[in-house]
């Protein structure tokens, strides 16, 4: 608890409140209960993962926090204000990198700057800093088609961070990548979070990933999603690749796996 309070003091991240949120989709083909009822809070600068099996509704929940979809029940508040549309300080990373093929890497990172009509010159330095942080500084003038999948996703992460967002939402950003690239990007993400301290909500179905990266892991049941278990990851920061061999880490993974297996067997 104390560690969390210390974090919130020197972070620019927002407070996230999900209060009794539910979502049901009505289509011609029938009704889908995506989310039954979920409540949780995220403190400023906290890194929280939503962990659950595929199709359990975690992406829907993320989209609601992003302001792209409205909840049917309950309320989502950012810094006390109810979410009705994407907030200005939002950075979002999707499973597909969604880079614009016709723009250079640098221009892709600077896209939010251009759309919000801000002064490009002021942000070029920051863009290059971000690219340097993920090891892509040399590729600033290249086009996305010249990069590998992992590199492209890194650019996507830089783009999400260019305006120093106070809320970073990530929807299974590494799902489409191979394991080694995944792990490398996980490390990059840790560096980024350590440096810039936004509030992060990270959706994944990988137990390892969730525990390595997060301060807390919220485990969700299969559809309709409910909060099964909240796991406090007490491991020290900064976390590194070697943390995966830490006995504390392994124990947490085992615990999470047990919860997951039980919920899926039901």
């Amino acid at each position: 608890m104390q560690a969390q309070q210390k974090k919130s003091r020197d972070s620019r991240g927002v407070t996230l409140e999900i209060v009794q949120v539910g979502k049901t989709f009505h289509t011609r083909r029938g009704t889908t209960h995506a989310i039954e009822e979920i409540s949780f809070t995220v403190a400023p600068g906290e890194f929280v993962s939503l962990l659950g099996p595929s199709g359990c509704g975690k992406s829907t929940l993320l989209n609601m926090v992003a302001g792209l979809v409205a909840p049917d029940r309950g309320r989502i508040a950012i810094d006390g204000k109810t979410v009705t549309e994407p907030i200005d300080e939002l950075g979002m990373v999707f499973q597909r990198d969604l880079l614009l093929e016709w723009r250079t890497v640098l221009d892709n990172v600077l896209l939010p700057v251009q759309i919000k009509r801000l002064n490009r010159k002021k942000y070029v330095e920051r863009a290059l800093d971000l690219l340097r942080l993920v090891g892509l500084e040399a590729f600033a003038d290249r086009y996305p088609r010249e990069l590998s999948g992992g590199m492209r996703q890194r650019v996507g992460i830089c783009r999400a961070l260019i305006l120093n967002p106070s809320l970073l939402l990530m929807d299974e950003p590494f799902a489409a990548l191979d394991i080694m690239t995944r792990e490398q990007l996980g490390v990059d993400l840790l560096n980024v979070h350590a440096r810039y301290r936004p509030t992060v909500l990270f959706v994944t179905h990988s137990i390892d990933e969730a525990i390595l990266l997060s301060d807390r892991v919220l485990m969700l049941s299969p559809r309709p999603a409910k909060l099964l278990q909240e796991i406090d990851v007490g491991l020290e920061r900064p976390r590194v690749a070697a943390t995966r061999r830490h006995p504390g880490f392994l124990e947490l993974v085992a615990r999470a796996r047990e919860v997951m297996e039980t919920s899926m067997a039901l």
Binding site: A66, L68, R96, I115, G149
Partner: protein, 261 residues
């Protein structure tokens, strides 16, 4: 087959076909007014060079004007159809009706309204060529990936920004597909229109040559026309490569290890 071999192979094949044509005509003693040998066609080209040049230029102007008009109007119409449900209904009805009526049937009517010459030909050319451009624009704009549009929403992009930054560039490959079809159709359209309503141009020349049984000249005109169509088409291919520069297959020696998402 290696890339450098293709032009050589094509040239050889064409040379072989032309040679077979020449030999066949001579062997079977085919009268010139039915099927002239390539040598006679070439001779006609040389003999009629100044006239041929003038008519070629006239047709080229018509094709160019008709095509540019179809692009200049076709693309905006496509955009409007995507962005306005009401206009979409109206436009589609008009479009389908206008395309169902054969332009050859309409050409004499235009003749009465606009008289012989450039205006009638350009109008017919435009009507024939602009439909594929509209369709290609609509399809291209609609093919924007929903995830891309979601990204635009998270960035709070305005509809105009979403169009300009996300939808339009993604639609360009499709639009160019439509433009390439329109290019070929423009040539067809111009010739058809000339048949009915013009006193100059390669179409007119073909008709006149046929009526005088000057078949070699007729063939020569067709040959020039084909070259014009080819040149025009490849001009667009080049333009597409310049504008839609990101679509090329990377012809590099390094293996492309980008994972397909």
């Amino acid at each position: 087959m290696r890339r450098s071999h293709v032009p050589v192979t094509v040239t050889l094949t064409i040379a072989l076909l032309v040679g077979a044509w020449e030999a066949g005509v001579r062997l079977f003693d085919v009268p010139a007014y039915l099927l002239p040998p390539p040598s006679a066609v070439l001779k006609a080209m040389v003999d009629w060079a100044p006239s041929l040049f003038g008519h070629t230029r006239a047709t080229a102007v018509e094709v160019g004007a008709g095509f540019l008009l179809s692009a200049a109007l076709g693309i905006p119409i496509g955009v409007i159809i995507v962005y306005s449900k009401w206009l979409e209904q109206v436009c589609y009805v008009l479009l389908v009706v206008s395309q169902s009526v054969p332009k050859v049937a309409l050409a004499p009517l235009f003749l009465v309204w606009l008289g012989f010459g450039l205006k009638t030909v350009v109008l017919v050319t435009f009507l024939i060529a602009f439909f594929p451009v509209v369709i290609a624009t609509v399809v291209g704009l609609r093919s924007a990936h929903p995830d891309m549009l979601q990204l635009a929403r998270t960035l709070k992009a305005s509809p105009l920004q979403t169009f300009w930054y996300f939808r339009l560039p993604a639609a360009l490959p499709s639009i160019f597909g439509g433009l390439k079809v329109a290019a070929t159709l423009s040539v067809v359209g111009a010739i058809v229109a000339e048949f009915v309503g013009s006193q100059e141009g390669l179409g007119y020349l073909i008709l006149t040559a046929n009526s005088m049984f000057q078949t070699p000249l007729s063939f020569a005109s067709i040959a020039v026309l084909s070259v014009m169509g080819l040149v025009f088409f490849y001009l667009l291919v080049w333009l597409e490569r310049v504008v839609v520069f990101w679509n090329r297959e990377e012809a590099s020696d390094e293996p492309s290890f980008r994972l397909q998402v």
